[in-house]
Symmetry: C4
């Protein structure tokens, strides 16, 4: 920890507390998602096994949107995590871009709830898509701000790695754009893309590979 | 901290931030449990001492399921804690298995609420059992993934210890399986098993013992 | 950090993650308190300035119980904080006593809400008192467990300090007991004690003094 | 970390845990803000695209107050962060001033919700203004307490820097005062000031500059 702490403790606002706030906000936003999955309380005398099973089954859009948003937020947490590994210092503008990013994160439970309530409505699908796209764009902004002229990253970071990192985010943004356009054909189609696109990010990125090589 | 930080900071995604996210999600899920224990607000002029006492007493399934889930989540937090102590590095698949585990954790307030509302319904008991079983299975997956071929743990870790760790989880999963089968006889029986089985985990495991020996 | 980290990383379950979980649970429980302070939403055309002011004023029991519980939880957080400073190691029973303590912490938003809804009812006052008393008793248990035979604390800790720490907690528990008895005369009296007793804990304890001397 | 950890671990109550509690409470309060932005659930057969769009548009005061409060809390988090960087030790009174500050932070979701529900009512605007002013005053108190006679900060800190830090907070408090007075003319005017004043704090303060110079 010696080397990294040295640079963290000294220059600009501490990276550790930014990470602490980010982790806590991600954790809450991910946990809040479940608050909207609710089974109505009915007097126990009136309730039947069939009624409860039917109610559970009717909640499927809620379950799907819960899992989808949890995975997407998890994906962005992993990405945020990966990029912040390269930060050597922070400054006030970066802090504010990060807060903007976190504001978009906090908004995800709202758009997830909206989509879970109205899975067949185009407007719900578009609001959700905008939310995810904003996640991508603010993350891109962070990474671009930090790396331009090696502003907040070490001088030894390769330009190829920076470019790969940007491309990886932009590809996600473009996929979401396409999904939003598909919602004008049929909102169900955009839902399918939202569910499937995180799978592309399960595999390790160039950034991870570089990383492993550098330190092993 | 020198030795462990060295390996954490360097290889793969930082263990510390994974722990921070996990701790926050556990803390939040454990706190959310209390949100569903509610006493209805009645105009104070109409309310009587007897009415309030009766309302409190009628909440017993809520109190029981709150305590039960808090203890079970606490138990899994302790276990997660114990296993992650052995991690020397992390990688992207491990991160995703951990996120899957956390998704199951976040689901516990939902199934607890469901069970607290309908303690005599088999379906509520089964949903709760599935949730706890999924906790066990995803924790097992983490541990198995991390230890296979010493992928993420140190090379000095004994095979006996790895096996013991797996058995300890599987025994819990099997107990929950049995409890779920019992719910077909009577849902109350499965409740009793859910309440009692954490007691078996109060005693220190082989893992703790090894640990203490190794460092004392 | 070198000396303390050495003992933390090595023996038993890490003190740092226990503190992280405790801090997060305290933070959530303290924040959840505000969720129950709500002004009803009325159509804006019908609403008047007088109505809103009256509604705010009618919320006074909610405000009082919010502030009271926030201060009491803050006081216990400070105390928990102070005691855990002396811990040199942890073990599984300690972890479970701590989880029990945290379960009582999580229960505070429930009993606060109950007291805020029915400030003139004895039963609400008693439930609240039991909750605070349980906080004191579980904290006492932790401290007694950790210090008996220097189980989890350093061998240089003075018996006088241990005794002072216990007395300080027990005095609070006795005060709450007295407040609960007073509620049989008039619930308002016990409320007054609940509000006032944290003031006694604002002044530094023997523990803090010892501490400052030891390190200055 | 060596130098700063040395002073943290040793004297008074640990700065790190105070920061951990503060970060978690900030994160939670910032996330709770979104809970009040809700679209009502209507049976899907009856819902139309136009109805949903209209409902979203009608939520504009909720969106504005959400963004405003998120930015203001973010601003105070940055400020809290900046000041605590200079702390060399803590003591019990400081801990309590910090808890008071956090209590005001926790109150923000309440006053935001109130303002979002009744954006045209003077009382809502005044309550919100008082909340933000209390944030400023408790932060001022912290900083004044810590720096008076170099009580909790290092002896090398310049008096000019301390004075600048105080002025920066007081300017914000005065701005909010002015906004509250404007609400007697028209509540909409005070809203505009609440939205605009954080912009002044986007630019780096003297404190940041000093900081960067000192360590670069």
């Amino acid at each position: 920890m010696t080397a990294s702490s040295h640079s963290e403790g000294g220059q600009g606002l501490g990276k550790q507390r930014i990470e602490a706030l980010s982790d806590a906000i991600f954790a809450f936003a991910m946990t809040l998602l479940v608050l909207d999955v609710k089974i109505p309380k009915v007097a126990e005398a009136l309730v039947t096994q069939e009624f409860l099973i039917q109610t559970l089954l009717d909640l499927w859009p809620k379950f799907v949107s819960f899992v989808m948003s949890f995975v997407i937020l998890g994906m962005f947490w992993v990405a945020h995590h990966g990029y912040s590994h390269f930060l050597k210092r922070t400054d006030r503008p970066f802090l504010w871009i990060n807060l903007l990013f976190l504001m978009v994160v906090v908004f995800v439970p709202f758009s997830t709830d909206f989509l879970g309530d109205y899975p067949r409505q185009r407007i719900a699908s578009l609001v959700y898509g905008c939310n995810i796209m904003a996640l991508g764009l603010t993350l891109y902004w962070q990474w671009a701000y930090a790396t331009t002229g090696h502003r907040l990253v070490g001088s030894h970071i390769e330009p190829r790695l920076v470019r790969k990192g940007k491309q990886r985010i932009l590809m996600g943004v473009l996929t979401i754009c396409a999904a939003m356009l598909l919602s004008f054909v049929n909102p169900a189609l955009s839902l399918i893309v939202y569910v499937l696109f995180p799978i592309a990010y399960l595999q390790p990125s160039q950034i991870d590979l570089h990383w492993t090589h550098a330190h092993d």
